[in-house]
Structures are given as structure tokens and as C-alpha cells.
């Protein structure tokens, strides 16, 4: 009898604990209130925003939360704790020198920490112009693969398109690749991004000003090596009819004497084949020589390395006001930040979803078509948001 009582006691204790443990929980996660203020561009009067849509993308989960503003009143925003990229688009009416304007307005902020119960967030707004002249129509930066499975790099190219109704000239057009990486976010000092792009390699189309017209709806191809690459790689294409070619590093440069070379303003442009860099197109102010540019726009920037010591680098600024078009590139799995001011390009596009994606070869980023005029001229989409303007992982237009 005594052993039976002892047994019952053990069972009673175990049963009580067991019953308590079987109770299931509902999962809840911490959230924080987000207080929002919008700062209109300086100098505008009587600013009234409308149709404003805010998108908060949480970087860890990839989940988007969308809010619509009712008039100028910020919405009530409660978000799960996390790290957010905020984009804003809407309409704005404002007065300047007594004249009323209606335009599109945008805002963009990366790396917004939402945690601790409540945060306040200020988003600077900027105006953007939907009309533009020359644009990057296509950037083919991935290269191709040979039948033997080897990388083939000489067949990369840019296509520059005249998206306006005027004849424009390629003479003096500058193409520059970012010095920074969109996959490695750093706090650079000074932070010049709001007013300038920091290029690594810079090239310029030669000409006296009107030597190389681009008619409305027409394009030029700027090839790495303007040769028939099919002779060396059946998976590549013929670039021998390109309008221009780069002057590459001696070891990888194949010159076609029939095709004019671009002038190397700074370094040699090789085009990052995983798409970690961004590209801009612009012009130096009239009368500015390359030497004057390099002399006036040289600066030293630094960042703190992981070992805590600063690293100093000399580079150049390319002021945002000189830039005609910009395209941010990255890779979805390793994207960390865009390398231009959001006013130039608030999005980014890609080839390859992961770093070193073996499916990226033979693909390009291609600007989407907005409309076609009655005269047959194609208007390309140019909203200064490469995420929306470009078709990622597209079939290159020069591939047969």
C-alpha cells in the first residue's frame, strides 16, 4: 500500500507539471509607434501634398507595410521592430515666385531602426522630373559564358538612348562607375551623396560638341571591346558595329580601329560583373576640361574599418547637378544601400538574385517601354526609380 501511495504521489506531481506544460502559446512580436514628419524641399511656399503613399520595407523579413496619407496628415504607423527602408511617392502643389506648380514628389530613407516602443522619423522630400533626355536604355554588365563553362568578359556594353523629342549629342558625355559598393554600406566621411556622386572609373565620349548626334528615339552602343565576339565565344554576340568602345586595361583590351575609343578620365572601366556598382551619365559644365574637373572635384574620404582605424582614400566628386541619368545596381541577397542621392535614382535593379549567381550570365538590365508615339518613337520609362523603370535579368537586346 505504501508503494502505491508513493507511486500516486509521483504521478500527481508529474501530471500537474505535464498539464501546465501542454498549454500552447500565441506568438506575439514587439511593435513600435512611428511618428512621421515630412520636410518639403527648401525654398518652396504653400506646399500641399496629396496622394502620398508610404512603403516601409523591413530588411530582415522582407515584408512591406504600405500606408496612405490622408491629405497632409501623417497616418498612424505601428510597425514590428526591425530595420526599414522607407519610400514615399505622391503629388505636390507649391508656389515659387508667385507661380503655382503641380509636380511629383518623393522621399527615401534607408536603415531606419524601429524599436523600443516609439521612434520619430523625418523624411526629406524632393521633386522629380519625369521628362529627360539621354538615358541608359540597357546595361549589359554580366558578360557571357563559353561552351567550356568559363567566364567571358569582353562583350559588356551600355546602350544610351535619346528619350526626348530633340536631337541630342553624345559629344562629351561622361559615363562613370561608382567607387563604392551597393553591397557594403559604410559611413563615409564626408558624406557627399546628397550633392555629388563618387565615381571610381570615369570615361568620356570624344567630340567637339556636335560630332555624334543621337536623333530622337535613336541609340548608341558603347562596347567594352567592339568586335565580333561570336568568333571567340558562340554564346556571345557581334559588337563590331558599336558606335564607341572603351579603352580597357592593356591585357584585356582588343581595339577595333573602325570604332572610336572613349577617353579614360579616371582609371579603366571594367564593369563589375556581379553588379555591385552603380552608373551615372552626365556632362562636365561647358568649357570645363578634364584636368580642371579633376583639380576642382578631388576630395579625400574616409571610413572606419572593422579594426577601428580610419581608412583614407582619394577620389572625385561628380556633382548631382551635372548628372543626366543614374542607375543603381545591386544583388537582392546582398543589397545594403543605393549609391546615389534618391533624387537621381531611388531604386536599384539587378542580374542574379544572389552573390555570384551562376544564372546571371547573358542577362542585362533593360529599361521598360512607357509608350510609343504616333510617329513610332518609343518613350522609355524614366521615373528615377530603377526598381520600377528597369526589367531586371532581361535578355540582352543585342543577343540574337
Amino acid at each position: 500500500m505504501r508503494q502505491f501511495k508513493l507511486l500516486l504521489f509521483i504521478l500527481a506531481v508529474a501530471g500537474t507539471v505535464f498539464t501546465a506544460a501542454c498549454k500552447k502559446d500565441n506568438l506575439t512580436i514587439r511593435q513600435s509607434d512611428v511618428g512621421l514628419t515630412l520636410t518639403p524641399p527648401a525654398g518652396l511656399q504653400n506646399v500641399r501634398t496629396s496622394n502620398v503613399v508610404l512603403v516601409f520595407k523591413e530588411s530582415n523579413s522582407g515584408v512591406d507595410s504600405t500606408f496612405q496619407m490622408n491629405g497632409s496628415m501623417p497616418p498612424v504607423i505601428i510597425l514590428p521592430d526591425g530595420s526599414y527602408e522607407v519610400t514615399l511617392e505622391g503629388d505636390v502643389e507649391y508656389e515659387l515666385d508667385g507661380v503655382k506648380y503641380s509636380r511629383k514628389i518623393r522621399g527615401h530613407k534607408q536603415g531606419v531602426a524601429v524599436s523600443g516602443g516609439s521612434v520619430t522619423l523625418d523624411i526629406p522630400l524632393f521633386l522629380y522630373d519625369e521628362t529627360a533626355g539621354l538615358v541608359f536604355k540597357e546595361i549589359f554588365f554580366t558578360g557571357t559564358v563559353t561552351p567550356e563553362g568559363k567566364q567571358y568578359n569582353g562583350d559588356k556594353y551600355f546602350i544610351i538612348y535619346n528619350n526626348s523629342e530633340d536631337t541630342l549629342y553624345a559629344d562629351g558625355l561622361v559615363i562613370a562607375e561608382a567607387a563604392f559598393l551597393s553591397t557594403t554600406k559604410r559611413t563615409y566621411d564626408p558624406d557627399v551623396m546628397p550633392e555629388a556622386f563618387t565615381p571610381g572609373s570615369i570615361v568620356m565620349i570624344p567630340g567637339k560638341g556636335t560630332d555624334h548626334p543621337i536623333y530622337p528615339g535613336k541609340q548608341i552602343v558603347v562596347a567594352n571591346n567592339a568586335i565580333n565576339h561570336k568568333e571567340y565565344n558562340p554564346n556571345s554576340f557581334d559588337l563590331s558595329k558599336s558606335e564607341f568602345e572603351l579603352t580597357m586595361l592593356g591585357s584585356i583590351n582588343v581595339d577595333n580601329p573602325q570604332v572610336p575609343d572613349l577617353v579614360n578620365v579616371n582609371g579603366f572601366m571594367t564593369m563589375h560583373n556581379r553588379g555591385f556598382k552603380s552608373y551615372i551619365m552626365g556632362r562636365l559644365p561647358e568649357g570645363t576640361t578634364i584636368d580642371q574637373y579633376k583639380e576642382t572635384q578631388k576630395y579625400t574620404y574616409s571610413y572606419i574599418q572593422t579594426n577601428g582605424t580610419p581608412r583614407y582614400t582619394e577620389g572625385y566628386k561628380f556633382p548631382n547637378s551635372w548628372i543626366i541619368d543614374a542607375v543603381n545596381l545591386s544583388v537582392p541577397a546582398v543589397f545594403e544601400w543605393i549609391l546615389t542621392a534618391p533624387a537621381l535614382d531611388m531604386g536599384w535593379t539587378y542580374c542574379g538574385k544572389v552573390d555570384s549567381d551562376d544564372g546571371r550570365y547573358g542577362k542585362s538590365v533593360k529599361r521598360a517601354v512607357l509608350s510609343t508615339n504616333p510617329d513610332g518613337r518609343v518613350i522609355l520609362k524614366d521615373t528615377n526609380n530603377s526598381t520600377k523603370d528597369f526589367e531586371a535579368e532581361a535578355r540582352p537586346s543585342l543577343m540574337q
Binding site: K24, I29, V63, G82, Q151, A333
Partner: protein, 492 residues
């Protein structure tokens, strides 16, 4: 076969260690062993002592399977084991083994020891066959001190797993166990024991690629196919550190006659880290409660045992959220939440009755079970839950034919799914993760019949060395699993 043939013709003078074989082939003893698994109760576990060196080969393949564990496995194992009572007051036991294994079609898992570290695996959608080698040593000692038995148990297991083509994981893990136990005789015919145990776990998880063209997305799974996009990409190194502890209370008869019961609690804390990130990216906290109650009777030629056991396991996964500050500190933790929970509750009843000493020894067993299993992930909200029942019967017969003792067993079970829910609406059907979740769901919730059978032949090899050869086969109709095992062992 030649050895077997010679054994058949051997005379009765080549006497077999009948008591040992009876213990080793009795389904009553299989169940009873767990009652005396505590180090301080080991002295009561077996009546006979033995030492064994064995080698076994297993092969299993199945149509439905958990993708993270693969579609089957082939294992070669060399095992040595001993259970001795060197003096009237001491019991010692130990085992050591080496196994070489190949898992087939492992996907969405490039980490070793799935059950230890899940759901925080390093993963990709490519995977492939995975090889591994395991070395393990364990042993213990129990000693009588007055009315007490004091026991100590310690063990080590080392594992490395790898693949010779992309993606190439190279994982090394180690598990160290330590247990202390004390029991005291109570009520003349019973012993009451208390165990304290601990476990330390570590794994270095590394993935490599040699293809110059590139590689797939490598990500860090967080449960039900969810993963942190911030950490996905090319972070191909991770480490796990785990620490567990527990206690158990045992009540058992000292002479195989009477009631028995046990209750235990275990806690496991596991953390996962990535290089260059100071904070843990995720932690696991698992609480296990288990208990059992039963009755056993071993008298004359009758053998009986019945046991009802229950267990509940709650595994909580806490996941950190990060922000890239862009400064020297780079990636920093800004929040953490419990986002994954896995609750498992099981009840199982088993009883075996047998008779020995007649023309033939026989045992008949009945089994019934219930399992409630639920996994949840929050933000995005996903769920995989099911409950199932199991009922089965088995029979074992044993007969000495000349110098050979033959044991034959067969079983049949029905596993029936009662209800199931699979919810991952946010996952695009075009994604491989969607296919994985559906495949795992089908595996976990399929009903079917399980059949199994085995044959073991014990005979004397030479002098005091005895040998047995055994073969087992099983088939699970629901998941179309076929498994075979052959084993040979030398006992002395």
C-alpha cells in the same frame, strides 16, 4: 552460412549462454531496460553480464521524407559494448562506436545534427547526398554505499559531415554528456533514484563552393521555410553552442516485480552565431517533460510488462533583427522576438506478455500511441500541425535448435492521421521553399501501415566466444519506406 551450418550440427555440449540470449531477445527486457536506464539503477538492469563487439549495415530509402533529413541512408557501424559487475558492489558499463553514413538527397539543410539545432539551419535549395562519420564513447560506473547506489555516466560523440561536390558543407560537431545519480532502496522491494545530467554541444558549420561561375542563395533558415533576408546571401560560416541540463526521478522494483514510474525534466539552450556579428542571430530554448508509469512481473516462466508514457516538448526559437549601421560596428542587433514554436505531445502505451521454458518461448505485444505536433512561425504567419494515432501488435518466438538459438519477430502497425493543417500562404508556389514545405507536410501527415520482421541466430563460435547474426526488414506503406539491417556480433 558455413558457420551456421556447423553450429546446427554441434552437440548439446556446446552450451549457449541461454540466460544472456533470452535477455537480449526479450521484448519485455527491451522495455524494462529503460526503467533501469538511470546510472544508479543500472545494477538492477540485467541479470547477466556481457561484452560485445558488433558490426552492422543498414540501408533505408523512402518516397516521402523530411527534405532536411534526406530520402534515406546507408550506414556501416562498428560497435563495442559491455555491461559488467566486477564485484558485489560495483557495476560498470560502456560503449564505443564508429559509424560511416551517407544520407541521400538532403536539401534545405547544410548543417549537421538537424534535431539538435533546428530550425536554425544553414540552407540552400541544391543540397545532395551527404556523408558523415561519427565516433562515440560513453561509459559509467555505479557503486553501492550502504543503502545507496551512486552512479556516474559520461559520454562523448564527435561527428563530421561533408559533401564532395558543390555545395560543400564541412561540419564538425561534438556532444559531451555527464550524469550523476543516486538511488536508495525503499519499501524493501523498491528503489527511488534521482538523476542530474548535463550536456554540452558545439558545431562549426561551414559551406564552400568551387564553381567559378557562382553559387545559389545561402540562407539561414528560421522555421517553416522563413529566413532572415538580411543575413541571406553568402554568409557561409556559422557556429552553434548548446548547454543542457536536466533531472529525473525514478521509482522501480529491484526484482522485476511491481510498479514503476519515472518523471523527468530537461532544458536545452542553443545559440547560433555568424562571424562578424557580435550578437547571437538566434537562440533555441527547449523544455522537455516526460513521465512513465507501469507494472512489470517476471516470475517463473511468465514475463509481463505494461507501460504508459507521456512526453511534452516545447521548443522556442528566438530570432534577432539587425540593422546595418554602416559604421565600424557594421551589423548590429536592434530587436529580438520568439518567432518559432514547436510543441510536441506524445502518449504511448505498450504491453508485452510472454512465456519461456517450454517447447518454444513466445511473446506477444500490443502498442497504442497518440501524437499532437504543432509548429508555428510568426511574421510571416505559417503553421504546420497534425495529430495522429498509432496501434500495433507484435510477436516474438524463440527456439533452440541444436547449438543455435533462433529468435524471430514480426510486427504490424497502423498509423492514422487524425487532422492536419499546413499554412504558408505567403510563399509563392514558384519557389523551391513552397515545394519543400508541401513535401515535408505530406511526409508528416501520411497515414499507412508499418510492417517489420527480423531473425536472429545465436551460436557458439569458439571457447567462450559466442556469436549472433541478425537481419531485420521493415516497410512503411504510407511513406513507401523500405529498410533493411544486417548485423553480426561477437559476445564474450
Amino acid at each position: 552460412m558455413a558457420i551456421l551450418g556447423a553450429a546446427f550440427t554441434a552437440g548439446a555440449q556446446d552450451s549457449l549462454p541461454v540466460r544472456l540470449i533470452r535477455e537480449q531477445t526479450s521484448p519485455v527486457v527491451f522495455l524494462r531496460d529503460e526503467v533501469y536506464a538511470s546510472p544508479s539503477l543500472k545494477v538492477y538492469q540485467r541479470e547477466t553480464t556481457w561484452s560485445r563487439l558488433s558490426a552492422s549495415f543498414r540501408h533505408a530509402n523512402q518516397e516521402l521524407y523530411l527534405q532536411q533529413e534526406g530520402s534515406g541512408r546507408q550506414t556501416f557501424n562498428v560497435h563495442s559494448e559491455t555491461y559488467l559487475k566486477p564485484g558485489p558492489k560495483a557495476t560498470v558499463w560502456g560503449q564505443a562506436y564508429y559509424s560511416s553514413e551517407e544520407l541521400y538527397k538532403v536539401k534545405f539543410n547544410e548543417t549537421a545534427d538537424y534535431h539538435m539545432v533546428y530550425p536554425y539551419l544553414m540552407a540552400d535549395s541544391v543540397g545532395g547526398d551527404l556523408k558523415s562519420e561519427t565516433y562515440a564513447f560513453a561509459g559509467g560506473l555505479a557503486k553501492a554505499a550502504g543503502a545507496y547506489q551512486l552512479g556516474l555516466h559520461a559520454g562523448f560523440k564527435g561527428l563530421q559531415s561533408y559533401r564532395d561536390r558543390d555545395p560543400r558543407p564541412e561540419n564538425i560537431s561534438s556532444t559531451i554528456n555527464l550524469g550523476l545519480s543516486a538511488s536508495r532502496k525503499v519499501l524493501e522491494r523498491y528503489a527511488l533514484g534521482l538523476d542530474l545530467n548535463g550536456v554540452k554541444y558545439g558545431q562549426n558549420n561551414k559551406l564552400d563552393f568551387v564553381s567559378e561561375l557562382g553559387y545559389p542563395l545561402v540562407y539561414h533558415e528560421a522555421g517553416l521555410g522563413a529566413y532572415n533576408e538580411f543575413l541571406a546571401g553568402s554568409r557561409t560560416k556559422a557556429s552553434f553552442e548548446g548547454l543542457g541540463y536536466g533531472m529525473a526521478l525514478h521509482f522501480a522494483p529491484v526484482q522485476y516485480k511491481g510498479w514503476f514510474a519515472r518523471a523527468g525534466y530537461n532544458r536545452l539552450n542553443m545559440r547560433k552565431r555568424l562571424p562578424d556579428i557580435i550578437a547571437d542571430i538566434s537562440t533555441v530554448h527547449e523544455n522537455t517533460l516526460n513521465g512513465a508509469v507501469g507494472y512489470m512481473l517476471d516470475a517463473d516462466r511468465r514475463h509481463f510488462i505494461a507501460e504508459l508514457r507521456a512526453a511534452t516538448v516545447k521548443r522556442e526559437g528566438t530570432e534577432a533583427r539587425f540593422i546595418n549601421t554602416g559604421g565600424a560596428n557594421g551589423v548590429q542587433k536592434i530587436a529580438e522576438d520568439v518567432r518559432y514554436v514547436h510543441d510536441v505531445t506524445t502518449f504511448r502505451f505498450r504491453t508485452v506478455y510472454g512465456r519461456s521454458g517450454g517447447a518454444i518461448d513466445w511473446f506477444a505485444g500490443l502498442e497504442a500511441g497518440y501524437e499532437d505536433n504543432a509548429q508555428q512561425y510568426v511574421m510571416p504567419n505559417r503553421e504546420l500541425s497534425y495529430s495522429q494515432v498509432l496501434a500495433g501488435a507484435d510477436v516474438t518466438v524463440r527456439k533452440q535448435l541444436g547449438g543455435i538459438m533462433l529468435s524471430l519477430n514480426a510486427k504490424a502497425q497502423r498509423q492514422e492521421n487524425l487532422e492536419s493543417t499546413g499554412r504558408w500562404n505567403d510563399v509563392s508556389p514558384q519557389r523551391a521553399i513552397f515545394t519543400m514545405l508541401n513535401s515535408n507536410f505530406a511526409y508528416l501527415t501520411t497515414s499507412g501501415m508499418n510492417y517489420g520482421g527480423g531473425l536472429r541466430a545465436d551460436f557458439r563460435l569458439t571457447g567462450k566466444v559466442f556469436c549472433f547474426i541478425s537481419a531485420d526488414a521493415a516497410y512503411h506503406s504510407g511513406i513507401d519506406k523500405k529498410a533493411v539491417r544486417v548485423m553480426t556480433a561477437f559476445q564474450f
